[in-house]
């Protein structure tokens, strides 16, 4: 019952969000292909919600799959920029799922997650660019990136095992900054990362002769670069979702949840908290590293400014806003937070001109203002996130009458 009720959440939210845009563009003529696209997107969103509501059945799964396949082609009618935005949305979902293992499952507040993302991106950049003259293939670099990030995860994990809550948060934050600062400065005495200049001309993902950048013709269809990356990312994301799901219901996952709820009690019942915490960091980090690799390949350029603290905060916000520890929730959070600013970018300006006849407030500042407001309001009215796991929601309701320490 509860599960079925959470799916309409998605539909309602999707419908509201897109209706908001439709409304604006309806008022704002001239952008006609966009408006049609948005209508299609809306329909897709509703279909997706429909699929989600009976996702246990094969038909539901097929419906979801169909929507996901059609999505990049529909958004492409509004422009490749939207496909690119979708790419980033999936990339962030990927990252948020990785962080979810650390924060959502094991309950370790990590504010430096972007460090692993950076490590993965730089691993790719160094192994597949003219910087060192290396051009290794994709199936070598991606696992290497994940492995290197994994080592960094253990490296971060080991000194912080004793720390709890907010102390852990600040140490991980520091770790993230340390990694970024090193990347920014390791151009001397030996030039490893090329410092603030960043690394250019990074190879795109290529499987055999099939390159993921630039357009290719397949069966008479032109498939653009962002569209190809969309499918690559989708496959990777589905893999991550499956791993996440398996983990969550495994012995390890249950042990993590035990640590999250009460570390002392977990220890008392014989859970090896040290190894499991390290494992959580390592797992989360490897996903971050993988996402970083794809990011580097997709951008063709990495520089330390892409890996600032703000990025860590954003990813954490995705996890919390969506619903910590609940996979569909986390994905929802990631998709919303990466698409919302872009929707606002398109929407805020025209809406103002329409309502007041002129630009009252600069659309750029208003965009972020609305974004901040959305964060506050969602948390205010749905404190456990937009789509929390059913157990978590129960806890929250019961928790209200409990005495808080």
């Amino acid at each position: 019952m509860k599960k079925a009720l959470s799916a309409p959440n998605l539909i309602i939210f999707g419908v509201l969000m897109f209706a908001f845009v439709v409304l604006q563009l309806g008022l704002f003529p001239g952008n006609y292909p966009m408006k049609l696209t948005i209508l299609y997107l809306l329909a897709l969103c509703a279909l997706f919600g429909l699929g989600m509501s009976f996702r246990q059945h094969l038909a539901g799964k097929l419906l979801i799959a169909a929507v996901l396949v059609v999505l990049p082609f529909v958004s492409a009618t509004a422009g490749q920029a939207w496909v690119r935005i979708l790419d980033f949305a999936i990339l962030y979902a990927f990252l948020a799922l990785g962080l979810n293992i650390v924060v959502g499952l094991a309950g370790l507040l990590d504010l430096g997650y972007v460090a692993f993302y950076a490590v993965g991106a730089y691993t790719w950049a160094l192994l597949a660019s003219p910087h060192f003259g290396l051009h290794l293939p994709f199936w070598v670099i991606l696992p290497t990136g994940a492995l290197v990030a994994c080592c960094f995860g253990v490296l971060l994990g080991s000194p912080t095992l004793k720390l709890r809550g907010d102390y852990l948060a600040i140490v991980t934050l520091g770790f993230g900054e340390i990694v970024r600062i090193f990347m920014n400065n390791l151009n001397a005495p030996i030039n490893i990362t090329n410092g603030p200049q960043g690394i250019t001309l990074i190879d795109p993902v290529a499987i055999g002769g099939f390159k993921f950048s630039g357009a290719t013709q397949i069966f008479g269809y032109t498939l653009s670069g962002p569209q190809k990356y969309y499918f690559l990312l989708l496959v990777l994301a589905i893999l991550v979702v499956i791993i996440n799901q398996r983990l969550q219901n495994s012995r390890i996952g249950r042990a993590w949840q035990a640590i999250r709820e009460d570390e002392v009690a977990a220890k008392a019942v014989g859970i090896n908290t040290r190894n499991l915490k390290l494992l959580a960091f390592a797992m989360g980090a490897s996903f971050g590293g993988m996402a970083g690799g794809v990011f580097a390949a997709m951008q063709g350029f990495v520089s330390p400014e892409s890996f600032s603290l703000n990025e860590s905060i954003m990813i954490l916000a995705m996890v919390v806003l969506g619903g910590m520890g609940h996979i569909p929730g986390v994905i929802l959070g990631a998709v919303l937070l990466s698409i919302l600013p872009e929707v606002l970018r398109y929407g805020v300006g025209p809406l103002q001109t329409q309502l007041f006849g002129k630009m009252l407030v600069d659309p750029e500042s208003l965009r972020l203002l609305v974004f901040g407001l959305a964060l506050v309001l969602v948390m205010r009215f749905k404190p456990a996130g937009l789509w929390p796991s059913p157990e978590r929601q129960r806890e929250l309701v019961e928790g209200r009458t409990e005495v808080k320490p």
Binding site: V103, G107, L109, P159, T160, K162, L163, R164, G165, D166, Y167, A169, I170, V171, L173, G174, F175, E177, I178, I181, F182, N184, N185, P189, D262, E263, V264, L309, I313, L316, A317, V320, L321, M324, V361, D362, S365, L366, L368, L369, F371, G372, L373, A374, L375, V376, M379, R380, P383, A384, R392, L396, G399, R400, V403, K404, P405
Partner: protein, 307 residues
């Protein structure tokens, strides 16, 4: 040797500023166990309000000294109101929510405040009016100014005042009770809502004071100035043991000293391998090392399961 003394002075002044801001974090954290991520933004608003008020009054012909005092008072008043509303809007409704929820609202509020400030004060860097005359001192080859002396004094005095407030007044007792156990304190007749609001208001007033100090010292202000400052101050608060007033103060000063001495000497110590570009790392490395051995900061009480 002269450079050592100069670096100590540099670090001390920078550290006093960190300490002032860190006190605001620690006030709130000590009582509610909540990181008020928007505190850096409160400091920023304090600085910018002072600029506007002083600018306006000077234009009206009010003498600078008077305008400065008025600016400070206005900043304190605005920030207190801001702190109070922050608590009301973003934190109080979430007191029973999962622990990370207020963190996200805090981030949201911080984005909102930054953008509001950008709309009001614009994107350009602003100059802070020269409120104090430039008086230079020289002592054993080290230079310092009157402003620097005042900053150190103000933060020491503030610290003393806060300690008095917390340990000698009825409100302070209520605060300590609330920080120990919210529920029990409320059963004992403490109006916890008022106490928590008071913590926010006092913390924000300190933020305004810090903002004015930062402004007078660097004579520059910008709508994004709060973020880095807040981050550093927060690090300082954790270093000292978050929730502990004296800890925040010492953590701040320690952080300032580490940064100054680190930037000054690391290059020579490592034969040029590490330079002042790693300045921001020292603070974090020290923090990690300290926390490895003392997991609740230098002066923090052993906390139970906050997580």
């Amino acid at each position: 040797m002269d450079i050592f003394l100069q670096q100590i002075i540099n670090g001390l002044v920078q550290g006093s500023i960190y300490a002032l801001v860190a006190l605001g974090y620690t006030m709130v954290y000590g009582i509610m166990g909540l990181i008020n991520f928007a505190h850096g933004e409160v400091v920023m608003i304090g600085t910018l309000v002072t600029i506007s008020v002083v600018g306006l009054l000077v234009k009206l012909g009010v003498p600078l000294a008077l305008a400065g005092v008025a600016g400070l008072l206005a900043a304190v008043a605005v920030c207190m109101a801001l702190g109070w509303s922050l608590e009301r809007i973003a934190y109080r409704p979430l007191r029973n929510a999962p622990r990370l929820t207020p963190l996200i609202t805090a981030i949201g509020m911080s984005i909102i405040l930054q953008n509001l400030a950008m709309m009001i004060w614009g994107r350009n860097y602003l100059t802070f009016p020269k409120l104090l005359p430039q008086v230079d001192f020289e002592f054993a080859g080290a230079n310092f100014t009157a402003v620097q002396v005042i900053i150190v004094l103000v933060s020491a005095l503030t610290m003393g005042g806060l300690l008095l407030l917390v340990y000698r007044t009825k409100l302070g007792m209520a605060m300590r009770a609330t920080s120990q156990n919210l529920q029990v304190a409320s059963l004992m007749g403490v109006n916890i809502n008022r106490v928590i609001a008071a913590a926010f208001v006092i913390g924000s007033a300190l933020g305004a004071l810090a903002g004015v100090m930062v402004g007078t010292y660097y004579e520059i202000a910008h709508y994004q100035m709060g973020f880095m400052l807040g981050l550093k101050a927060f690090t300082a608060a954790v270093l000292g043991g978050i929730g502990n007033l004296a800890g925040a103060m010492l953590g701040g000063i320690l952080l300032g000293l580490i940064e100054a001495l680190g930037a000054g000497y690391i290059g020579d110590l490592t034969g040029g391998f590490l330079g002042s570009h790693y300045q921001d790392i020292f603070a974090f490395v020290v923090l990690i090392v300290v926390l490895m051995f003392k997991p609740s900061g230098l002066f923090g009480e052993k906390t139970g399961d906050r997580a």
